[in-house]
Symmetry: C2
Subunit: 417 residues, 2 copies
């Protein structure tokens, strides 16, 4: 067996065997196969696809490339969620305390953000004192005692994915359903969950442009999960617009807390609905309760304040200061006004994401430092009627806000007469 | 413009522009684009193909990546030939003196061999004293005075091809018709010829397995040639069997000289026919004479000994010793015998090529040194009746001939009852 034979097979649309897939993942992770050979293989996979079996063995080999977290000492059915990512997506901050408040253990590992996609870890670290680096004992004890812990991924979680993703990013091979599915599922399964709810975004601002593609990705991930003995359900949602109102690290933590406290003035219905759906699916697969019961149970735990209580508990037990969770003054701020009157047809999530990165809320490279208080507060949302000159967004930053950034923020709002 | 956008376009089956193709060839030749990006692009080209226009611009950009040889100070229509390569292919040694003897200038640049494919330069250098490194003046003077010169390719001829070929070789992207066509045509055109005869091999021992593929390659190369103002004709021939009887450097020079001297005892009809076809096509495109007249003219110049005279002249003017052209004793030799009686259905060119490399006649890596006198002399050819124990080949080498080599040589002969 050698890598050229494996490339030739995939190029000629033949199915790779479990051994062949294990071989190239193992050797590539150990730096024994050159990048230029793997990038050719990735392109052949991108164009010719993979069978369900190939995608399963790819995921399995990727899981085995590094540490696999053992959560067996945590009682109960551990449930996790994954989102394919989006601008203003603070769903994890809302749903994990809801589920924990219902007594279902949440052992959550999250990543840092890169580019326009924010990371849960960055958002939580914006709260004064909050620690995301927990020891294994601390993590497991917290889940057993409080039903919740959120920590950064260990460095050696699916190292094959780190290498493959970096290569895909610069070789035009990101948009491959089997490669995306294996990347997501290998990390979720290596993180030890028994059940996973997948939040798959589709739309022009997401990797999956159409509902059909999103459905195929969801089905592929569910099939991998089932083969590895995990309960997996997927929810497909629109990602043409940012979720909620806030885009920025601390701003999103504030929005999540406001939502859980029942104050809808600083958040938006779309975020509430998304969080209720995801958390009810998590509750459903963890308990086997019906869809209807799960939905009403989730709504109840928000309304009776128990989810908010759990949220504050999470912040406190991991060293965070709850009194720090409020919007901060920044050195600079700008109001964005509607350039014409009409109905906001769409808020371009991609442009809003780019604006938030430019303001300091996101990383351009892994080494960038974040301005936790920077971000975009949307006022206008899709469907809203506005008059020319109405404030539709506010920008916050601790560095000067250039004309280019303001222009881009204005362009994000598509207002039709 | 950046390389990722170019990869994405080709991946999505969009046509690359002349500028985009020029960009990646220029930057890659200058080591400003990484191998892993170009290998992904090459795989996308291999799977999705290229339009005629793309293949043309690729060839043009490759030509412009290095030196272009100016043969304008040579009088007359300069004609060249190219073979997609084969085992025992000594056609160049035979046809170039035929054409030169007919007064058509032959300014021939050739390469060294690698693997089972021999190189004209290696074969000529096996003759004592023969020099293939000529100065430009010497080369041009020889062609003007004697109508013939054969020299090694300059180091800076199509450097883009050298880099691309090395990468294709290890990334499963060799068997792409546009990439093969651009590689061959860029070198031929950069070498300065006005007209090119293409000898395209097909069969299990060649890159092109079927006649249809060979035809597509031939048409692609002809189309490139026409767009660059060159006369191009292609001849498609079978390559399931080695050409002629001798496989090995000095042995092939001897066979070529015997053929030109009219002695058919040490050569085979298939080589004679191939050489007559190729040289008549070369004569036809150089002079505009009819097919029939070209064929009879070529046969005549062999029969009247003028082609042999020109062959000896070529050897002499480039410093070679004609009296050195005869089969040499080697330290070791082995007779290969028919393992059963019957008809030789096929002589496997690939296996014979591997045997000759193992005997020392070919290079495994660029650094290998050659045993000029080593090689395989076929006795049996396809179609021949043999009895068990009949000698069907002789192996020559200056290193010990192992049992493995003998076994492989036996296996090369497919003998059916």
């Amino acid at each position: 067996m050698n890598i050229i034979e494996i490339i030739e097979k995939k190029k000629n649309r033949q199915e790779l065997s479990a051994n062949e897939i294990e071989y190239f993942i193992k050797k590539y992770t150990a730096n024994e196969i050159a990048d230029y050979q793997i990038s050719a293989l990735l392109m052949a996979i991108r164009i010719n696809g993979m069978t369900d079996n190939e995608t399963f063995y790819l995921t399995k080999s990727m899981i085995e490339s590094g540490d696999v977290i053992d959560l067996s000492s945590i009682d109960g059915f551990k449930v996790d969620k994954h989102s394919t990512g989006g601008v203003g997506d603070k769903v994890t901050l809302v749903v994990t305390p809801i589920i924990a408040a219902l007594g279902v253990p949440v052992a959550k590992f999250s990543g840092k953000g890169l580019g326009i996609t924010g990371g849960t870890i960055d958002k939580l670290e914006s709260v004064n004192g909050f620690r995301t680096e927990l020891t294994s004992e601390e993590f497991i004890n917290n889940v057993n005692q409080y039903k919740i812990a959120v920590a950064g991924q260990t460095a050696n979680l699916v190292p094959a994915d780190k290498k493959l993703y970096a290569l895909r990013d610069v070789t035009g091979t990101v948009d491959s359903i089997p490669l995306i599915a294996a990347s997501i599922m290998s990390k979720k399964i290596a993180s030890g969950a028994d059940g996973i709810v997948l939040d798959v975004k589709c739309g022009s601002g997401a990797f999956m442009k159409t509902f059909e593609e999103a459905k195929l990705l969801a089905d592929t991930m569910s099939s991998i999960g089932e083969k590895l003995g995990r309960k997996v359900v997927a929810h497909i949602s629109d990602m043409d617009n940012p979720l909620g109102l806030m885009v920025g690290n601390k701003m999103e933590v504030v929005e999540a807390m406001e939502l859980l406290s029942g104050n809808m003035n600083n958040t938006h219905e779309d975020l509430y609905e998304e969080c209720v759906i995801i958390s009810s699916l998590m509750y459903e697969i963890a308990t086997g309760k019906s869809k209807e019961e799960s939905l009403s149970t989730v709504k109840e735990v928000i309304e009776n304040g128990k989810a908010l209580e759990k949220f504050k508990e999470l912040i406190t037990i991991q060293g965070g200061d709850v009194s720090d969770i409020h919007l901060k003054e920044t050195k600079y701020s700008e109001e964005i006004k509607a350039v014409n009157s009409g109905t906001i047809e769409r808020v371009n999530a991609l442009l809003i994401g780019e604006v938030s990165v430019a303001l300091g809320a996101g990383r351009l490279t892994k080494e960038s430092t974040l301005d936790y208080d920077a971000g975009v507060a949307l006022v206008g949302k899709n469907g809203m009627q506005v008059k020319q000159g109405d404030v539709i967004a506010k920008l916050y930053s601790n560095k000067e806000i250039t004309e280019d950034i303001i222009k881009k923020a204005e362009q994000a709002f598509v207002i039709k007469l």
